[in-house]
């Protein structure tokens, strides 16, 4: 078990929907892989693409940016900006050799604890499949 490769995942979760959704997964005692480390932000629109690039530079195997569903943003429009910024960044990082599978942008509402748990299981499994990404050297 311990020798198994454990991808390092960093998640940026908006306070109002996704962080609450992750809380919901907790209160509902759902289980998901331990790999993620969650950073709370007020809105997914707060996530500067620099943070994500920094995560990868620092050796993260996967990065999750998660916000409210379109139309539900606590700040009305933040996630629409998130969507544009990261649609482009994902493509660009992939082009630079960081596979787009390593970066997820997801909409998770406060009630979607199950979705959050499922998403992490799936993401972690996918990253494990891609294999380790030692610092910046592998794709």
């Amino acid at each position: 078990m311990k020798s198994e490769y454990q991808p390092k995942v960093i998640g940026f979760l908006c306070n109002w929907c996704s962080y609450a959704g992750a809380d919901m997964a907790g209160t509902s005692r759902m289980r998901y892989p331990q790999n993620i480390r969650i950073i709370r932000v007020p809105c997914s629109g707060r996530v500067d693409p620099l943070f994500v690039v920094k995560c990868f530079q620092r050796g993260a195997d996967g990065v999750l940016v998660s916000g409210c569903h379109p139309g539900d943003c606590h700040y009305t429009e933040g996630n629409y900006h998130t969507r544009r910024r990261f649609a482009l960044l994902r493509e660009f990082l992939d082009y630079l050799g960081i596979a787009k599978e390593r970066m997820r942008v997801e909409w998770v509402s406060a009630s979607e604890g199950q979705k959050f748990a499922d998403l992490l299981s799936d993401f972690t499994a996918e990253l494990a499949g891609l294999g380790p990404r030692s610092k910046i050297l592998d794709g």
Binding site: A20, G26, R31, Q34, P42, K54, R58
Partner: protein, 1111 residues
């Protein structure tokens, strides 16, 4: 240098059970700037909090990290704790070791511990960068908005208002009361619902502190706790509430009847209505849904639904009045109109469109038959005289509209008789002169002066005579020639001349063989006249095929029935003659090639396919043109020889001269000419009053969005009686029109698409003159400090559950329908009956959990109230008729709410209700009754119960458009549109949005007492807010570092709250500046700012980066 204290909470075994706390503590001790670490069984407990405060003092901590539950849980608690020890509340960071760690990784101690260490390290790194923040204080508008006037909203409103604060209660229906008002009795006490609800409703209506805005909807909400600004749309009732006396006179005359929503479609109501007798406010509402499709389709905007509704009530004269509000030609258009209205008629989607044209004609026929009182002349209120050239449909329509506005109108007609093309272009068998004359007389009686034999040649002269505006509607009166050899031989006639001669009684002699060239109405008319003049063998030669033929299809049909042949795909090449007499016509066969500019396929001659038809006469009906010679000079013409006008105003190149009809458009139909006349009348009125002629034109009208066709029983359109072919010798009219009975029958088929038909009969009877059909929706803005959302939920439509016979068998009903039937004021006067035949039902089967506890058909969870509702109704059915036997087929029978609820279920069973736990397989019709088959889970046997009535207890769901409102309010809701609470246990009436509270069924299905409790609780939160002097606003807002700002203002473009302004510095540089009271702290601008000039306090780049670096 920060002195950070780390406090690790065991949370009993919630965290400590999965995380090795000593190990985490040991790791924390080694972190930079950490000077103190301790752990505690329950940090949130008093001793736990005291320990933190003590440590802060003892170790001179200036930052605190607490590893515990989610910050969403206790951040506020711990902020108070550190404040108690003199620390700024924001110098605190919580590592979420419970929801994000121990609870989700319960049996991976090693991994969970490693993760917990990471989370603590991350929190330490972050808090080191945290600066002390001071909340701002903002004022509170002590005024509340309650959305939803059901029992929860009523309770909330009353509680707030009684405490002395103003409340705005917004209800989208015409009355408050919600679903509770529909109930007959309430469980488990069997109180009369109305008896306990209506006093509360009345109190709302009369409370000095409550501003009731019924029939209103919240459009937009901006602002924040204590300071919301709300936009409310007050939907137009078309009845002035301040004048309405609720006398119900309008209801008596309203011709439109529809299913009553309040009575769950079991009863009827009128387009003007009060939902139920005790409604608050007790004022009428006219239900208008826009323009009906027929009215939208009519170029002239004739309100067909209006007159059809009145015809259906036998009010024929009044019906004609409706038509005459738009135009004067009921008899004419009722005969010759191309009726685009019928194409768009919604009834056509059920079976066939309403015979709108024939109904229109019927009104004119009825008037002719019963005699018309002379019309009273219009009072000439305007001084400006208006001249109209041409007395065809365009000119007369224009004159009609202008004279009714009080303009003195003179019509100049060059011909000896009035009517233009209506008179000389349409044969008598289609439009009897008597009909036309009646309508022209009517126009003249109103005060229009008509001068015949007076052509207009010189516009200056007309102006000199004192006319201030001129309309030219002189038509297109010249026949076009074909340009083939032999066209000028006597015996070759042109259709217009031919029709004109016949219509003016000039004798025209024809041979026995006639060819008519063309495929339009003029060709068909000419052929049929030729036959009536004695021609024996008539051939219509048309160069395209039947599909392209522009004449009215019914006319073509009648023509063929009269024995006239059509040569399709043939064109004349030359007229053959002998001794200057026509002997035949040579034609060539055509085939259809590529579509031309008009979209019709262009006919192409087939070489060598010439053929000859022997004829004595040829009638050319290939088109008409404008006769320039008859028109004044100095007007601009198009390349096609028609007049040039502005497409919107219809003004020509000369100021004050307007034109419309065939003279502009080239030959079109009558309704197009009428439309042109009406449009010109609008322009001329505006021209004369000096108003902008183009503003708001062309007018856009709101077509009704959806027309319900549920329950409409198919019924064929009444057919038009015609004169037998054998009797068609002279010029007798061929179509005979409807009699009164047929007309009423036909009119009753109308679906009343727009609900209110705008027949305006109500205006006539409303003594206080409260009715205003032109009333507009009003938007008002209100400032409030708190909002209670109690928008409720409604039962799923039982007719969608066809597996239980819903929507299939009329005797499968919903619980609310039973409720209405039981109600003495309900549609059946308190008798529960079988809708199919009105009989008393003896066996009744209730089916529970329809669309609840069933993800496939509705919601996955329990609807909470149905078990009690079914028990109540079973008891009541027995009470109403002791011979009734009820079955309740349940999944689980529940009595939540305490002993009396459970007792109530027992009582139902004791009083003879058969409870069966099971599942329904089918509901089928058998011998006029219903057979309910299924499985009994307790006996493991199948059952077959014959019943008279099946009642479906359907799940409750929020209204479809609730999500839009919730989005406007920025409050969270789930996939089924139920609202989410700030915390499902501890903050049940709060939302994540401060200052917005929730109550009632909008949150989850609740019964009446629970809704009342929640309404009261929400009010209590509002009052708690209002009792504060001011509110602390989140200090986590953004700030601009002007040294780094480039002034690109991308931040301004992305800010959803208009919080960014451009500011010019003394050195001339433009930079962004953030208005803190508008900033909500989302940080969208921060992420957009490339130069890193914006800092979000509490979520700075340093802080988040420190977290990334710590992982």
């Amino acid at each position: 240098m920060a002195r950070i204290g780390v406090f690790l909470c065991h949370c009993g075994s919630n965290i400590a059970g999965a995380v090795n706390i000593p190990e985490v503590a040991e790791a924390a001790r080694r972190l930079p700037q950490v000077v103190h670490v301790e752990d505690n069984k329950f940090t949130c407990s008093d001793p736990g909090q005291a320990a933190i405060q003590q440590a802060i003092t003892e170790h001179q901590l200036n930052r605190v990290v607490i590893g515990a539950c989610s910050p969403r849980m206790h951040e506020a608690t711990f902020r108070r704790t550190v404040t108690g020890a003199g620390l700024n509340p924001y110098l605190l960071e919580i590592a979420n070791l419970r929801e994000h760690c121990s609870w989700v990784h319960p049996d991976q101690v090693e991994e969970a511990t490693a993760k917990a260490i990471d989370l603590v390290r991350k929190a330490v790194a972050r808090v080191a960068w945290q600066e002390p923040l001071t909340p701002k204080h903002v004022g509170i508008t002590r005024r509340a908005l309650v959305i939803g006037g059901g029992i929860a909203g009523i309770q909330a409103s009353l509680d707030i208002a009684d405490a002395g604060y103003e409340v705005i209660l917004v209800e989208r229906e015409p009355s408050i009361g919600g679903h509770m008002a529909q109930l007959d009795k309430t469980f488990p006490t069997l109180d009369c619902s109305a008896c306990i609800l209506t006093p509360k409703m009345t109190m709302v209506g009369q409370h000095a502190n409550i501003k009731l805005m019924s029939y209103s909807e919240v459009e937009d909400v901006s602002g924040y706790i204590g300071n919301f600004r709300v936009k409310i749309k007050n939907k137009s009732r078309y009845i002035d509430m301040s004048k309405c006396t609720s006398c119900s006179e309008c209801v008596k005359v309203c011709p439109v009847e529809l299913n009553s929503e309040f009575d769950e479609n079991l009863g009827k109501r009128k387009a003007t209505y009060i939902p139920f007798p005790q409604a608050i406010p007790n004022k009428y509402t006219i239900d208008k849904r826009g323009y009906p499709p027929c009215r939208v389709a009519c170029p002239a905007g004739v309100n067909a639904q209006g007159y059809i509704a009145l015809i259906s009530q036998g009010k024929f004269k009044e019906a004609l009045e409706v038509l005459r509000r738009t135009m004067p030609f009921a008899g004419v258009c009722g005969r010759v109109c191309t009726h685009p209205c019928e194409q768009d008629c919604e009834r056509g989607q059920v079976d066939q469109p309403i015979a709108i044209r024939t109904l229109k004609r019927f009104m004119a026929d009825y008037e002719l038959k019963t005699g018309r009182e002379k019309a009273a002349p219009v009072e000439m209120t305007k001084e400006e005289k208006v001249a109209i050239a041409g007395s065809g449909p365009a000119g007369l329509a224009c004159a009609y509209d202008l004279v009714r506005q009080g303009y003195p109108v003179t019509v100049f007609e060059s011909a000896p008789e009035v009517g233009g093309l209506l008179r000389y272009g349409i044969p008598e068998y289609r439009l009897p002169k008597e009909v036309l004359n009646n309508e022209i007389n009517y126009i003249q009686e109103l005060g229009v002066e008509i001068k015949t034999n007076t052509p207009v040649k010189n516009l200056t002269e007309i102006f000199d005579e004192g006319y201030k505006a001129i309309f030219l509607g002189t038509g297109a009166g010249v026949s076009q020639k074909m340009g083939i050899p032999g066209e000028n031989i006597p015996g070759v006639l042109h259709s217009l001349d031919f029709l004109r001669q016949v219509n003016f009684g000039v004798k025209v002699s024809l041979g026995s063989k006639v060819a008519v060239i063309g495929g339009g109405n003029a060709a068909v008319d000419a052929a049929r006249i030729a036959q009536r003049l004695g021609a024996k063998e008539i051939n219509v030669v048309y160069r395209r095929s039947r599909a392209e033929m522009p004449a009215i299809p019914s006319e073509i049909e009648e023509m063929e029935r009269e024995g006239i042949k059509i040569q399709f795909l043939a064109a004349p090449v030359k007229v053959l003659s002998k001794d200057n007499r026509v002997i035949g016509i040579q034609c060539i066969r055509m085939e259809l090639g590529e579509p031309d500019a008009s979209g019709r396929r262009r006919p192409v001659p087939i070489k060598g396919s010439e053929f000859t038809i022997d004829v004595d006469n040829v009638i050319m009906a290939v088109g008409q043109g404008v006769d320039k010679a008859t028109l004044p000079e100095d007007l601009d013409y198009t390349n096609w020889g028609t007049l040039c006008v502005d497409p919107v105003t219809l003004q020509t190149n000369i100021d004050g001269v307007f034109a419309g009809g065939d003279v502009v458009s080239d030959p079109a139909d009558v309704i197009a000419a009428i439309t042109a006349g009406k449009e010109a009348a609008i322009s001329m009125d505006r021209y004369l009053r000096g108003i902008d002629m183009e503003e708001g034109r062309p007018e856009t009208v709101k077509r009704v969005e959806e027309v319900s066709k549920a329950g409409v029983i198919s019924k064929a359109r009444q057919s038009m009686p015609t004169l037998g072919v054998g009797k068609r010798k002279g010029f007798d009219e061929v179509e005979l029109g409807f009699d009164e009975k047929t007309a009423v029958e036909e009119a009753k088929r109308c679906l009343n698409c727009a609900i209110c038909s705008e027949c305006r009969e109500c205006e006539k009877v409303c003594e206080p003159e409260a009715i205003d059909h032109e009333m507009q929706d009003e938007i008002s803005e209100e400032d409030v400090g708190a909002i209670v959302v109690a928008t409720g939920a409604g039962p799923l439509d039982h007719t969608q559950f066809s597996i239980y016979g819903g929507g299939v068998h009329p005797d499968v009903v919903s619980t609310l329908q039973i409720e209405r039937m039981m109600n003495a004021a309900g549609p059946t006067g308190g008798e529960v009956v079988r809708p199919s035949n009105g009989a008393h039902p003896k066996e009744v089967v209730f089916i529970s959990c329809v669309g609840s506890r069933d993800e496939r058909t509705g919601t996955g969870y329990c609807n909470k109230v149905c078990c009690m509702v079914m028990a109540k109704q079973a008891i009541m059915l027995k009470e109403h008729a002791p011979d009734t036997h009820s079955y309740i087929i349940y999944v689980d029978a529940r009595g939540p709410g305490g002993k009396i609820f459970e007792d109530f279920l027992t009582r139902a069973e004791k009083e003879g209700t058969t409870y069966m736990r099971g599942q329904i397989d089918s509901v089928a019709k058998q011998d006029g009754r219903l057979l309910i088959s299924g499985q009994d889970f307790l006996s493991n046997e199948t059952f077959n119960i014959p019943a008279d009535l099946v009642v479906l207890a359907t799940g409750l769901m929020p209204n479809e458009d609730a999500a839009r409102l919730f989005q406007t309010l920025h409050i969270s809701y789930d996939a089924k549109n139920f609202l989410l609470q700030a915390h499902p246990k501890l903050r049940p009436v709060e939302t994540a949005m401060d200052g917005i509270f929730i109550a009632g069924c909008a949150v989850a299905p609740t019964d009446v007492p629970e809704s009342v409790t929640q309404g009261g609780a929400a009010a209590e939160y509002v009052l708690k807010l209002f009792s504060q002097e001011s509110i602390e606003a989140e200090p986590m807002t953004s700030i601009v570092d002007i040294a780094r700002c480039t002034g690109c203002l991308l931040c301004q473009q992305v800010c959803p709250f208009q919080a960014v302004e451009a500011e010019t510095l003394r050195d001339g540089r433009t930079v962004a500046s953030i208005n803190e009271s508008l900033c909500k702290g989302c940080g969208i601008c921060v992420a957009a700012c490339r130069p890193g000039a914006i800092k979000l306090r509490g979520f700075s780049d340093q802080q988040i980066l420190a977290e990334v670096m710590a992982l």
